[in-house]
Subunit: 148 residues, 2 copies
DNA sequence: TGCAATTAAATTGTATACAATTTAATTTTA
DNA sequence: TAAAATTAAATTGTATACAATTTAATTGCA
């Protein structure tokens, strides 16, 4: 097998598919005024508000270089607030405002809309999610070992 | 199932996994002085030099907004050249220079190194590639229909 | 033919990603 | 306990992505 062929790479289909799926979110997310990474941040915060930037970054696998400006934009729009933790002033806590909480209702239709517009079967979605989540997990564990 | 939970999304594991895998390429690609998207461009050109920007964009699913500055950087480093097509001056043809061709030899070890550092089994790699490539194909066909 | 529509790249503007550095606060330790 | 090490965010700098616009060339059609 010609290893340097694009079609034989794992990385390319994954990279292209990820971007493609993201692009399907755009017109839908536009209606509630969020970008795709902003939507991911909001999903985490809808599950649990009041997380630190570090914890948010851990769950999304994003660093403060990406999150800081993104969170600032959401704060400007009064979707969330940033508060320094009293006990440790280094830590910034991200909490949803009423506006941010309310956005959840508007977002509740999104997963269904995406599934529909991608026209993938339940099985395809599930298989890919399981496989991707599994590998992600494995890579993360590998990195954890490597860092200790 | 709580549809708005991050763990139940397809999009997130795919997005995170794609970035994670890309990040594993970085230290390896650094040695030959390429970024990840630049490496993808080079893989296409090593297979077939002399493509138009449009065709390159089609194969990589990237538009000229992304490719133009990227190609300019590679041209500055004399890895490729851009030539206007005589028969149609709108078209820019991208051709590898000797330097660009030679880079292939340096890159030939990369797929093996990646496979090794990701520590994924052949089966995992193959399954994910097949599934991702399949879905990508399906989505592309869907879009093709939609645009006609 | 001549001008409107189309097309291919490039450019512009906005929003990530992420490495590396900086800043400020907290811990550790000599 | 005071300086050194560590930590959490923010900032800086570089490189994508991609929508939208612009520019220049080519086609199509009235």
């Amino acid at each position: 097998m010609e290893l340097l062929k694009l079609s034989n790479q794992l990385c390319f289909p994954l990279y292209a598919l990820s971007r493609k799926i993201t692009s399907h979110y755009l017109p839908i997310l536009e209606k509630i005024g969020l970008t795709y990474p902003q939507y991911l941040v909001m999903m985490v915060l809808w599950e649990e508000s009041g997380l630190s930037v570090k914890e948010l970054g851990h769950r999304l696998m994003l660093d403060s270089g990406t999150l800081s400006p993104l969170l600032k934009k959401l704060e400007d729009r009064e979707i969330l607030v940033r508060t320094r933790l009293k006990e440790d002033e280094r830590v910034v806590i991200i909490s949803l405002t009423g506006t941010g909480e309310k956005l959840r209702e508007k977002a509740s239709e999104i997963p269904e809309q995406i599934k529909c517009c991608l026209d993938l079967s339940d099985k395809e979605l599930r298989d890919l999610r399981t496989l991707a989540a599994g590998l992600l997990d494995k890579i993360n564990k590998l990195e954890a070992v490597h860092n200790n």
